[in-house]
């Protein structure tokens, strides 16, 4: 079945060269030439709306029409989806994708620079479009990602990339949209031995607060620097923060516990930053406060164990529903890079534990686009937006039916082949399996 699909796709996309035989010959698709209409589909718009027998038309990379009675332009390529489901391309909001290839092999790791304050460091320039991981994501419907640096306190800027590109310049969807602040964990050591040894001098919480103050001071000095036009010496670190102070960038604060999030809110207040919390394991405890201060949350990985042994066993599964109920703008995330191909299942679980299916979909599409500042261009299937579209044979959030048959990025039909499918074919061949 897979090979049949691949042939089909290859023809559709006008690759002409026949089936891709290796990872290296899975080519990025050329710009959309002809208008396309996907018909006879269940269209999940991404904003909560579902069109049962709908069509979606796109041309020159943009969605032109979505609805029940949509007709394609003359000469449009019509694809009858026979009841399949159409979704906005899924967006992974925080990942090292393209910045690493094999986690345990240091030489492949490019996501963590040395030093504590690196706001001028840019993830986009290290983003490897030829990572073999990328194709395994888009063949599951993940079509965009915010690739982000890690480590230190201020680790640099992240960029949103689309996952079908020759190089990072092609890939950049929104470059340098976020600064990343890894807030120290404000929790005493749980090691009983260490806790017993704890003195004010090595108190981890105090240590953490000191580091946070260091970041605050850095921002204050940057602010002062920026308000003066003339400088005899250029400070690249401060220069790098201009977009943040101009609110052209967001501050992504990576933290999980309540005290840390309270301080993140305080950063928003003091500096007027647009703050997004990344992690937010305990965000359910202060959902109303987050809402009140317009703090968005990239909620990390519902597929996780509860923070504490006394917590509800399904707490991580239902946190999303609690944020939704409180009206917090949030999206769902997954840890790591290769793991992003399971992002839709994180949403599936959030749906099993309180979100509606369409809310869960928004949490990996439209909400994500809003939080990353790309919702004018993607995140939902609405006219005028980029045609970033994933088609699944069944409910994409449920692994028993989630099978992506087509994907389009900016209207370009993406080759859904990947290394895994190729190895699958290779060994089916070996064993004579169909």
């Amino acid at each position: 079945m897979i090979s049949k699909n691949l042939l089909y796709i290859a023809c559709l996309a006008g690759l002409g060269g026949g089936r891709a035989a290796a990872q290296a010959t899975v080519y990025p698709a050329p710009p959309q030439q002809k208008p396309v209409v996907l018909t006879n589909a269940v269209i999940h718009v991404g904003n909560g709306q579902v069109i049962d027998h709908g069509s979606i038309a796109f041309a020159a990379g943009k969605i032109t029409a979505v609805g029940a009675g949509v007709q394609g332009e003359a000469g449009a390529q019509v694809i009858d989806l026979k009841g399949q489901h159409v979704y906005p391309g899924i967006i992974a909001p925080a990942t090292e994708l393209g910045l690493t290839e094999v986690a345990a092999v240091r030489a492949t790791n490019d996501y963590e620079e040395t030093g504590e304050l690196n706001p001028s460091v840019r993830a986009i320039v290290a983003y490897n479009t030829d990572s073999k991981v990328i194709n395994t994501l888009r063949s599951n419907g993940i079509l965009l990602a915010q690739t982000a640096p890690e480590g230190g306190l201020l680790s640099g800027t992240s960029s949103v990339v689309q996952l079908d590109a020759w190089n990072w310049e092609d890939a950049a969807y929104k470059a340098d949209g976020g600064q990343h602040f890894f807030m120290p964990k404000l929790l005493p050591s749980s090691d009983p031995f260490r806790a017993a040894q704890q003195t004010p001098a090595n108190d981890r919480v105090k240590e953490g607060l000191k580091k946070i103050e260091q970041v605050r001071t850095f921002f204050r000095e940057a602010q002062a620097y920026i308000s003066e036009k003339k400088h005899t010496e250029t400070n690249l670190k401060f220069e790098a923060l201009r977009p943040l102070f101009a609110r052209e960038q967001k501050l992504f604060v990576h933290c999980n516990l309540v005290k840390e999030m309270l301080l993140a809110i305080d950063f928003a207040k003091e500096f007027g930053f647009e703050v997004v919390i990344v992690g937010g394991a305990d965000s359910w405890m202060i959902a109303d406060l987050l809402k009140q201060h317009h703090i968005a949350v990239i909620l990390a990985q519902p597929h996780n164990l509860p923070v504490m042994q006394d917590d509800d066993v399904d707490q991580p599964y239902k946190t999303a529903a609690q944020l939704q109920k409180a009206g917090v703008l949030f999206c769902l995330s997954n840890e790591g890079f290769w793991q992003q191909r399971n992002l839709m299942f994180e949403a599936g679980t959030a749906s099993a534990y309180g979100l509606s299916k369409e809310e869960a979909l928004s949490a990996i599409t439209l909400n994500t686009a809003k939080i990353l500042g790309v919702d004018q261009r993607t995140g939902s299937l609405e006219p005028g937006k980029d045609a970033n579209i994933a088609v699944s044979a069944g409910d994409i959030l449920d692994m028993k039916s989630s099978k992506v048959t087509h994907a389009f990025i900016q209207g370009r039909e993406v080759n859904l082949d990947d290394k895994h499918k190729q190895l699958y074919e290779r060994y089916k061949y070996k064993y004579g399996l169909k």
Binding site: A104, K185, D191, V258, H303, Q309, Y427
Partner: protein, 1026 residues
């Protein structure tokens, strides 16, 4: 004594001007009550025959008679108005009609109580280890002991250490212990797994030769390798294996095997076996682990408990052991900041509340025990904590017994200490009243006939009515009231009552009071107390000298005690297991009829709609339509799905202190069965995901890892009851990057193997040794490592092998073929799809991840189609977790093979139910829904492969261990109980009780590659440690 200058001679010593040690200084003050006329016990060292005397000899017998005392010879034996006579540091007699020797110094103890001094048999007094900095995690490996000499191979076996050899008196520590009431301790160097022997010593301030009363009083053990810098053992199960092997080796060494040469560690071990054997447990489950080893080798340990044993009393009773119970009760936590209190688990809060019930629980259970001050930061709190234990239900009689007679009996020292019987050491306490009353003061602790003052105030009760006459001046009636140790003064003159002050210092007294009512001036008197007649001089309010005397007129009559009687504290319940989600009483098996569900049988019938399943006596009784319920509990399954329980072939939950004994390449002697942790909340969490059995594996840090254990998730059961009875034993092997230490850092470059080539050699060598070993005749050293390998060769133990790439899989198949055994299961096996044909030919099964890859080099060709290909080639394929979180979604992981590879749904479900049952040789018991099989089933809210499915009820052996409705009740109970305890702690803080900083309750999660401290995935654990 350390300073010869205090080897004084005669009464004149009192007046020496030499620097006086504090102890002696405090004793002088005691003259008032002792009427000794200048002779001080304790200020001379009793003669020791071989030691020359510098000066004039001072032989003394130290005969004393303590008269008119209430003497408690031992718990339950109270003598009123009795006399205790001691001589030469020993008790001569204790009784009511005892004759007082002519040469006895008589001490009037009217109103006072005399008890045996306490005995602590778990002490490191005078043998404390000087801590040296150990090796770091990054140090290169150390394979053999660093102990110099003809000792054993393992540095943690320190049988050769004799406390008697290293013991040094330490007056500072001795004093602290004496002040807490102790007279004798069994001390040992608290270091290592075998710690050698302990010595019984008194706490007298005397030469080592005199205070040591028994050189070898016990042999001591623990599971803690202590200061050993050697890598092995690196885990609790390794420590247990080492103990077992040492028992065997010591037995073998009795035959003086020539090849071994001299092994002083084993020699000492053997020499010590006739002594009382003491074992330190670090946890209630450690108690059972220790007892089990004891049972294996015919040893009944006396067990030093941890303090949380009250959580499992039936198991404690079953050990038949005697216990040494610590009293270092946990402090209240500072929970004022709710964001800090959040990280303190209910189990910790409850432990704070319930720990003081431990001694009472042992008494109630009829288990012999004694008490120890071990672990207490402040020994001064010891008696207070005994009193607390009494408030929490311990009887006073038992408390006294546990402080005196019981510990002496445990170490067979009843002839020396523990009671006040003639012939025993003169170790006793003189107190102001019954020992366990809060107001009672310890006055003196006599050790080996030497007096040590604890509190001097109040020894003489001067309270009463006196007639005070001033010359010149008036006559007053003097009322001395208050407490004996802090008397108060008032005077009556005609109808006026005047408030004054009184202070005593030795026999000197001073009085100050206004001469008349309303006077702002103060009259000051100073004098001496000579029995009942006081006299002295002073100055009146105008500064004129006066003489005075006061004559005793009437005794003091205490006011009736109006203090509120203590009420026993209100306490929460013990949960089984001791976790917020534990049971108040263990759940019972019930007959259950699940009605009208979609039943996934995993049998030929396949998936049956609208079907009933009857569970009786823990087994599936019937599958069919419209079954009669009888007395069974009916569960409506309409719209729901019933499947066999999920079986996780690869799990590391519920394991204590180390999942890897990765310190050697072959550790087939270690057993996960030894280190189960029934309290792990992940058992409950897995149940919430429909898991009913987990195969707990050793990690993958070495080629031949440890023996595994299959458990059923019987939440609340103890370790033995968790075990899946009657299964075929398995062992974990591992290949590839972990065993060749590819990702362990630059310092780990010396353990063989460092390549896949070497891995083959490790295997070939191990099995060759095992084969040779098996052939050896009588008298061979029994080797637990090789025993396990012989079992593999004889098809009595089966392998599950962590593996990734095709070359290594192929290699192991060849090794197995050469030695004539079958590799039962390849686990992880992410390149199994490349060699599925070879695995099939060999007869191996596969247990894999659904879609993990890219986390290290050897998984770069891992594909999510792996399970599907292997299954289609004809292997028995399971999907496993290796992860406490993913384990509760294994049904979804199986469903990924429907997505990747188009596997049929029923086949996909089998990958987490029937197939792992087959791989584990228990498919005749579990894995499908078939009459006669164990009732291990899950009722799902939805299609079991769907992400929307929730396990509503998880049933093991017909017992509902997880029920989503009951879970809701537990959440409320947790919230209520947390709040109750937090409020209680806040109350403690308000009352001024010391509180400790809130630190997060630790949760350890293991996965394959963990060495020392778990897989730190949870937020609360330290991320900055290895």
């Amino acid at each position: 004594m350390d300073q010869p200058s205090f080897h004084v001679s005669g009464a004149g010593a009192l007046y020496r001007r030499a620097p006086v040690p504090t102890r002696i200084r405090s004793m002088r003050i005691k003259l008032i009550c002792l009427l000794l006329g200048g002779l001080l016990a304790g200020s001379y060292a009793r003669a020791q025959v071989t030691f020359p005397v510098n000066g004039v000899a001072d032989p003394r017998e130290g005969c004393y008679a303590f008269t008119h005392a209430t003497i408690i010879k031992e718990a339950g034996s109270v003598l009123q108005d009795a006399t205790l006579v001691i001589r030469d540091g020993r008790i001569v007699s204790a009784g009511t009609g005892a004759a007082i020797p002519q040469d006895a110094v008589v001490i009037d103890c009217r109103g006072k109580y005399i008890y045996p001094s306490f005995v602590d048999i778990y002490s490191d007094y005078g043998t404390e280890l000087v801590k040296k900095s150990g090796r770091g995690y990054r140090s290169p490996p150390q394979f053999l002991s660093n102990t110099k000499g003809a000792f054993g191979w393992n540095q943690a076996i320190k049988s050769e250490v004799q406390a008697a050899d290293i013991f040094k008196t330490d007056e500072k520590k001795a004093k602290t212990l004496r002040q807490a009431g102790f007279g004798t301790v069994l001390t040992h160097q608290q270091d290592g797994i075998a710690r050698g022997t302990g010595a019984l010593v008194t706490l007298a301030d005397d030469r080592e030769n005199k205070v040591m009363v028994q050189e070898q009083a016990a042999a001591l053990y623990s599971f803690d390798k202590g200061s050993s810098t050697q890598n092995y053992p690196g885990s609790l199960m390794g420590a247990i294996a080492l103990l077992r092997q040492t028992y065997l080796d010591a037995q073998w060494y009795k035959g003086r095997p020539a090849k071994e040469g001299i092994n002083l560690s084993l020699q000492s071990w053997n020499d010590q076996q006739s002594l009382p054997q003491l074992f330190e447990a670090e946890d209630k489950w450690d108690v059972l682990r220790a007892d089990k080893i004891g049972d294996e080798f015919g040893v009944q340990y006396i067990i030093k408990a941890h303090g949380n044993e009250y959580q499992r009393m039936p198991e404690m009773a079953a050990t038949k052991a005697s216990f040494i119970l610590p009293l270092d009760f946990p402090q209240a936590v500072d929970v004022e900041d709710p964001n800090d209190a959040r990280f303190v688990a209910l189990s910790d809060l409850k432990e704070w509340e319930l720990a003081p019930t431990e001694p009472a629980a042992f008494e109630k259970a009829g288990i012999p025990f004694c008490l120890t001050a071990a672990g207490m930061k402040d020994v001064k709190q010891f008696l207070g904590n005994v009193r607390k234990a009494i408030d929490y239900g311990l009887s006073e009689q038992k408390a006294l017994d546990a402080l005196t007679k019981a510990p002496a009996a445990f170490i067979k020292a009843s002839d020396k200490v523990g009671t006040l019987d003639a012939g025993k050491l003169a170790n006793f306490l003189i107190t102001s009243g019954p020992l366990f009353e809060d107001s009672t003061i310890l006055f003196q602790n006599w050790v080996q006939g030497q007096r040590y003052t604890i509190n001097e105030e109040g020894w003489t009760d001067i309270r009463g009515t006196y007639t005070l006459t001033l010359t010149p001046g008036a006559t007053y009636t003097l009322l001395v009231q208050g407490k004996p140790a802090a008397p108060s003064l008032s005077l009556v003159q005609q109808k006026d009552t005047l408030k004054g002050s009184i202070a005593l210092d030795d026999k000197l007294v001073r009085l100050a009071f206004p001469p008349a009512r309303g006077s702002a001036r103060t009259l000051r008197l100073s004098g001496v107390l000579s029995g009942n007649a006081w006299s002295g001089n002073g100055l009146d309010t105008s500064g004129q000298p006066v003489k005075w005397n006061a004559v005793f007129a009437k005794a003091y009559t205490p006011k009736p005690d109006t203090a509120k009687k203590k009420t026993s504290p209100e306490l929460g319940k013990v949960y089984y297991p001791f976790n917020g989600y534990g049971w108040e009483s263990l759940p019972k098996q019930q007959d259950i009829l699940v009605r009208n569900a979609t039943v996934w049988t995993n049998e030929q019938e396949g998936k049956l709609e609208n079907t009933d399943v009857l569970i009786r006596n823990g087994k599936i009784a019937q599958v069919g339509k419209n079954l009669p319920a009888g007395s069974a509990r009916v569960i409506d399954g309409t719209g729901k799905h019933l499947t066999p329980g999920i079986i996780d072939e690869h799990s590391h939950i519920a394991i204590t202190r180390g999942v890897n004994e990765g310190t050697q390449s072959v550790t087939s002697e270690v057993r996960i069965a030894d280190v189960l942790n029934p309290d792990d909340v992940n058992i409950y969490r897995q149940l919430s995901g429909g898991v009913t059995s987990s195969h707990l594996l050793h990690g993958s840090a070495n080629t031949i890892g440890g023996q595994t254990q299959l458990i059923k998730l019987r939440w609340g059961a103890d370790a033995e009851a968790l075990k899946f009875a009657g299964w075929d034993p398995f062992i974990k092997f591992a290949l590839g990057e972990n065993v060749k230490q590819s990702n362990w850092g630059e310092s780990q470059r010396s353990r063989f193997p460092q390549t896949r080539m070497g891995v083959e050699q490790v295997l070939t060598d191990a099995f060759t040794r095992a084969r040779d070993y098996e052939k050896k005749g009588a008298g061979k050293r029994r080797d637990l490592e090789l025993d396990a390998l012989v079992e593999i060769l004889n098809h009595k133990r089966f392998i599950t092998c962590h593996s990734y790439v095709q070359s290594e899989i192929n290699m192991l198949l060849h090794v197995a073929d050469t030695f004539g055994f079958t590799v039962n299961t390849f686990t992880h096996i992410l390149e199994g799809y490349k060699v599925a044909d070879k695995m099939k030919k060999h007869g191996a099964g596969a247990s894999t991840f659904s879609d993990w890859w890219a986390y290290k080099m050897e998984v770069q060709d891992a594909i999510p189609y792996n399970a599907s290909i292997m299954q289609r080639v004809g292997l028995t394929v399971a999907i496993n977790s290796d992860d406490a979180e993913m384990a509760r979604r294994l049904n979804q992981e199986a469903a990924k093979s429907v997505k990747y590879g188009d596997m049929a749904e029923e086949d996909a479900l089998k990958m987490v139910t029937l197939n792992p049952a087959k791989l584990l040789h228990v498919a005749d018991r579990v894995g499908s829904i078939k009459p006669g099989k164990d009732a291990d089933v899950v009722l799902w809210s939805d299609h079991p492969l769907s992400i929307y499915a929730k396990a509503e009820k998880t049933i093991v052996d017909g017992i509902v261990y997880f029920d989503r409705e009951h879970d809701q009740e537990l959440r409320q109970r947790i919230a209520a109980e947390r709040n109750r305890l937090i409020q209680k702690m806040l109350g403690e803080k308000k009352k001024g009780a010391p509180v400790k900083k809130a630190t997060p309750t630790r949760e350890i999660l293991w996965n394959c590659e963990d060495m020392q401290s778990g897989h730190q995935r949870t937020l609360i654990n330290d991320s900055d440690e290895l």
